[in-house]
């Protein structure tokens, strides 16, 4: 799957034109993680958004110093968006469960793209809110 095909399958980029997707693809850098490797660590400052291309990652939060896996995310899902929105520290640790390929987007480059092309910015921010909402619904249902 080429990068534009991948981006089309990611809700964050739903509604973007082919030209817009080319602009997003231009700021993506592919990175591979072996099973067990950490993509992001809870509490640390994060400057990257990850789009899972292949594989599976687990998201873990510390509860009273005990780590608890809250969700697994497969291809097409994004992680690291919260620190992009609020500039806060990572809210969770993200670890590759299997060998995993991600597209990495630097927050500053992403923000710059959204500000240069406000059409992209509006759609992406709207889609990001929807993705966060979906994750919250998932968490509510998983705790019933």
């Amino acid at each position: 799957m080429d990068i534009n095909q991948l981006l089309q399958s990611v809700e964050l980029f739903d509604g973007l034109s082919g030209k817009d997707l080319d602009e997003v693809a231009a700021i993506c850098k592919q990175r591979k993680y072996n099973a067990g490797e950490i993509l992001a660590k809870e509490g640390e400052v994060g400057s990257e958004l990850f789009v899972v291309s292949e594989g599976l990652v687990e998201v873990t939060v510390e509860e009273f110093t005990v780590p608890r896996v809250v969700v697994n995310l497969g291809a097409g899902q994004i992680v690291g968006e919260m620190s992009l929105v609020d500039r806060g520290p990572r809210s969770a640790t993200v670890r590759a469960i299997h060998d995993t390929v991600v597209q990495v987007i630097q927050h500053d480059e992403f923000k710059d793209l959204c500000e240069r092309n406000t059409g992209i910015g509006y759609l992406v921010m709207s889609n990001m809110a929807a993705d966060l909402s979906f994750k919250l619904r998932h968490r509510n249902l998983s705790e019933e």
């Binding site: 089309q8 739903d14 687990e58 969700v71 995310l73 299997h98 979906f134 619904r137 249902l141």
Partner: protein, 68 residues
């Protein structure tokens, strides 16, 4: 290109559940392979209305095989 974004939870298991994309509507009885785990879908329903190319589904599953 329609995509089904699926929130799944696993009944009677310590597995955390997750979110995956599928290229088809998940149906009860279908087997999903998530990593090394095979899950059978027990129930699936639309969680929120479809938007753009995306359909949003919630599925309840049970473990039928786990190799790790």
């Amino acid at each position: 290109m329609a995509i089904w974004k699926v929130s799944y939870v696993v009944k009677s298991s310590e597995l955390p559940g997750g979110i995956i994309n599928l290229d088809h509507t998940p149906e009860p009885g279908e087997i999903l392979q998530i990593g090394d785990t095979h899950l059978e879908i027990l129930e699936a329903f639309e969680l929120i209305p479809a938007r753009g190319d995306f359909h949003y589904i919630h599925a309840t599953c049970k473990v039928i095989e786990q190799t790790e």
